[in-house]
């Protein structure tokens, strides 16, 4: 016992008092309670050992960065590591107990009161501790310094149910000073939760080290006011993800690992495969037959100080990677049984767009059945057997792959169109497939008796799209780039300025217009709060600025979306409702480097005509002062 505590004590005395972040408001009593909650084993042993069990692992030393020139990542042997799903997050008791108003005395970050708190009083509680930790991306690499939730990259996945509200306590235990390029203040956004503003991770609502924030997730469908109960079941979304949204440092903090997946089940997608109720019986056992594929690209420094640090340059955005990473592993393999699997593909960016194909053992393209786009079921599943699945940053595609058509022993590959750096030769690949393009490998085996049997064929109809009401107002968002600054409707992002106000309960038809002159970027525009529907897409085809041509919508644009890919000179007309909650929300380009360059705009939802017209008048007044065109000349409401 004393052997363990002695060096810790020495360490403490060396630290200056003001550097030690003590959790405010924690008394000895709550501390002992927390110890009890850990489990009976802890209670049975002496109090001192309970104390030991509570002490988290010491943080890793800060990274030593490897210069400003992007290095070539070290070679890694393909298919050495095994792909696994992020662990399911374990609900836990929270001390102090979450409150309606921010518990600033205990160190909760300032916020407005939770909306609909009693109506959706949380039943399930999670804690996500943002802290520095080490993660090994590949067996050939040494650990890398990262910022993760609960010491895991990707973060543990909270598995939730519609009708069971949850609350996630995000605690900031990041270092007070860091040598990494991250920013030790966080605000966590649940993408694209139908979430009240104070829990939505607004970019300006970040909080520093030592503080925490309770994000209240109603886990209800949109349309609570209109439909009662938990809202309109046709508004169901299932595959969410949460990530840091700190203004100007989103790319950096996400590159360092502050993101994870969040799944909500309901009757049609219940988390099991049994023929019960309205279940669609898709492959649905989390981490067994229902696997998140969380994609990102990273670049590594050469081994030094026992680490392969992530390449990063302080002051710059997130660098482009030369290693394709899936669920925190480089080129892993996964054993699959001869049955259907569901993969929840998520691109966590920061900036790369993925073009994925499934490659069969003979080198031809395999079929992926897309069932959901951006967390929303498509009305009818789409069999993608030619052309890539293009996944923009923050987009999610739930695909079903049926491995029963392949004999045991066959190997299938997930291919990305762009090449990475591997550095190790590989043999036995299908003809025409280069190892540089391989993201991961599927090894097909026969199904063991204990493994869940195959699910029935994917139903021809997955959902009924909600009724789209006629628009109450029209609005246009112009994305431009002037003198190196991204502007939206002529102004740069300012978290303290509202750029559009909408009335709760109304529907607006918005045109997203990409007039960024020099860029050839397709901006994945993300709109917070509710799912929208793309109505049409046009592209400017000549020098005449008013000549547009219609672009037919692709299969993934026919349903509901929250990320709207916006190529140059495009106009996307979409319609969205604003129901149930009030407050401040965002539109931004989800290329996180652009988002950090302030390609972002704030809009608010209010609940009275008076407030709407007051705020719209104020917006136009400020726009006139700033020398840009007022927005509401046609009328304030």
């Amino acid at each position: 016992m004393s052997d363990v505590t002695a060096p810790r004590k020495r360490n403490r005395t060396r630290t200056r008092q003001d550097h030690v972040v003590t959790e405010p408001g924690v008394t000895r009593r709550t501390f002992v309670k927390a110890g009890v909650a850990v489990g009976a084993a802890a209670v049975l042993t002496s109090r001192k050992s309970t104390v030991q069990a509570q002490v988290p692992p010491p943080p890793p030393a800060e990274p030593v960065l490897c210069g400003t020139t992007p290095p070539v990542s070290p070679p890694t042997t393909p298919f050495l590591d095994v792909l696994s799903a992020p662990s399911a997050a374990v609900p836990q008791a929270l001390f102090p107990f979450p409150t309606l108003a921010a518990n600033t005395g205990a160190g909760e970050a300032a916020r407005a009161n939770h909306q609909r708190w009693l109506e959706f009083f949380p039943n399930v509680f999670y804690q996500m501790d943002a802290r520095p930790s080490l993660h090994t991306f590949h067996s050939n690499l040494l650990p890398s310094y990262m910022w993760t939730f609960n010491n895991a990259y990707p973060a543990p996945t909270p598995l939730n149910f519609y009708g069971v509200p949850s609350l996630v306590r995000f605690k900031n235990n990041l270092p007070v000073a860091t040598a990494s390029f991250g920013r030790n203040e966080i605000t966590v956004h649940l993408h694209n939760g139908h979430t009240a503003s104070e829990s939505d991770g607004f970019a300006g609502d970040f909080f520093g080290t030592g503080l925490f924030k309770d994000n209240h997730y109603a886990n209800a469908y949109a349309g609570i006011d209109a439909f009662g109960g938990i809202g309109d079941p046709n508004e169901a979304m299932h595959t969410f993800w949460f990530h840091d949204h700190r203004a100007a440092f989103t790319a950096n903090n996400n590159y360092l690992g502050l993101n994870g997946m969040y799944i909500v089940y309901d009757e049609t997608d219940p988390g099991h495969e049994l023929p019960i109720g309205d279940s669609l019986q898709l492959p649905n056992y989390y981490s067994v037959t229902d696997i998140p594929l969380i994609l990102t690209d990273k670049r590594f420094c050469a081994a030094a100080n026992g680490r392969n640090e992530l390449f990063q340059v302080v002051g710059a955005g997130a660098p482009g990677g030369d290693k394709w990473v899936v669920n925190g592993k480089i080129q892993p393999r996964m054993t699959v049984r001869r049955r259907k699997y569901r993969f929840r593909i998520l691109n966590t960016g920061p900036a790369k767009t993925w073009n994925l194909t499934l490659v069969k053992p003979d080198g031809t393209q395999g079929t992926m059945t897309v069932v959901a786009v951006d967390a929303n079921f498509l009305e009818h599943p789409f069999n993608l057997s030619s052309g890539p699945l293009t996944v923009f940053v923050a987009s999610r595609y739930d695909v079903i792959i049926d491995f029963s058509a392949f004999p045991a022993g066959s190997k299938l590959y997930l291919r990305e169109a762009a090449a990475q750096n591997v550095g190790v030769a590989a043999s036995g690949l299908p003809p025409g497939l280069a190892i540089e393009n391989v993201v991961m490998r599927f090894d097909v085996v026969n199904r063991e008796f204990w493994f869940p049997p195959d699910t029935p064929p994917v139903p021809a109809t997955l959902c009924t799209l909600p009724v789209l009401p006629p628009p109450d107002a029209f609005f246009q968002w112009d994305f431009t780039l002037v003198n190196g600054v991204f502007l939206i409707n002529g102004l740069p992002f300012d978290a303290n300025r509202i750029d559009h106000v909408v009335l709760q309960g109304t529907t607006e038809e918005w045109t997203l217009a990409n007039d960024v002159a020099a860029g050839n970027w397709t901006h994945p525009v993300h709109i917070h709060f509710e799912e929208g529907r793309i109505l049409s897409r046009r592209v400017r085809v000549s020098q005449n600025p008013d000549v547009f041509q219609n672009v037919p919508l692709t299969f993934d644009e026919l349903g509901r979306r929250d990320v709207y890919p916006l190529p140059p000179q495009h106009r996307v007309v979409m319609r969205q409702q604003f129901r149930d909650f009030l407050g401040r929300y965002l539109i931004h380009c989800h290329n996180m480097n652009h988002e950090d360059d302030f390609m972002m705009v704030r809009w608010d939802i209010v609940d009275s005509i008076e407030e709407l017209s007051t705020k719209r008048r104020e917006i136009d007044r400020q726009r006139r002062l700033a020398g840009v065109r007022p927005q509401y000349e046609g009328g304030l409401v």
Binding site: P58, T68, A110, V485, N496, D597
Partner: protein, 217 residues
């Protein structure tokens, strides 16, 4: 041992206020530059090292953008007067060093009421200036990084002591520009941050009472 410390979630890797292993010397060229007062200084060692600085690019006969930016900077200077020249500095670097000699910079500064403590204008060898511009303002895009006009429109804020870099558009509101400059302030102690948090909560509560939700600043 204080039991409260058991809840300490981490031991800070660096002590507050002590200089970090900064990457400033690696990133920022230590080129000799000339100030509007005609002095020659080393850009990293004498101008940035260990300090919190606000840097922008400009040139003397720039018609519209630079004047707007410079007047914003003048407002920033007024707001942060107490710190200027002590622990906060403002550096304006010309993008056209071949036209802007110290005298031209000085007259530009006089014209914009920018002869103030802690505010320096720089010119120098075009190669050095180009390197500095690229190192401080690059967007990793060939078009933007080669177009000079793109770099007159961003303020770079660096706290070299804490290795914190951020930037802000000078066309945002003064409130926002000041907020971004504060992001690079030396880290505060937990007590100070909790106090800030309490003040913010009071502000939010007041706004909610007064306006229904959060108001326009």
């Amino acid at each position: 041992m204080n039991r409260r410390e058991l809840f300490t979630s981490f031991t800070p890797a660096f002590a507050l206020g002590e200089p970090l292993a900064t990457c400033g010397s690696e990133l920022i060229p230590n080129a000799p530059l000339r100030t509007h007062e005609g002095k020659t200084v080393r850009f990293y060692d004498e101008v940035i090292k260990g300090r919190q600085v606000i840097i922008n690019m400009m040139y003397a006969d720039c018609a519209s953008q630079c004047s707007t930016v410079t007047s914003t900077l003048a407002k920033v200077h007024e707001a942060l007067q107490a710190r200027m020249g002590r622990d906060l500095f403002m550096h304006s670097i010309t993008v056209k060093p071949e036209q802007d000699d110290p005298a031209a910079l000085k007259s530009f500064a006089e014209m914009h009421d920018a002869i103030r403590p802690g505010w320096t204008f720089f010119t120098g060898d075009p190669y050095d200036i180009e390197t500095i511009r690229y190192r401080l303002f690059r967007m990793d895009h060939i078009k933007f990084d080669t177009d000079l006009s793109f770099h007159t429109a961003q303020l770079r804020i660096i706290n070299d002591a804490t290795n914190c870099w951020t930037c802000v558009s000078p066309f945002a509101s003064l409130y926002t520009v000041l907020e971004h400059i504060a992001w690079a302030d030396p880290p505060k102690s937990l007590e100070e941050r909790l106090e800030d948090n309490r003040r913010l909560q009071q502000k939010i509560d007041q706004e909610v009472r007064q306006y229904g939700y959060r108001k326009i600043v």
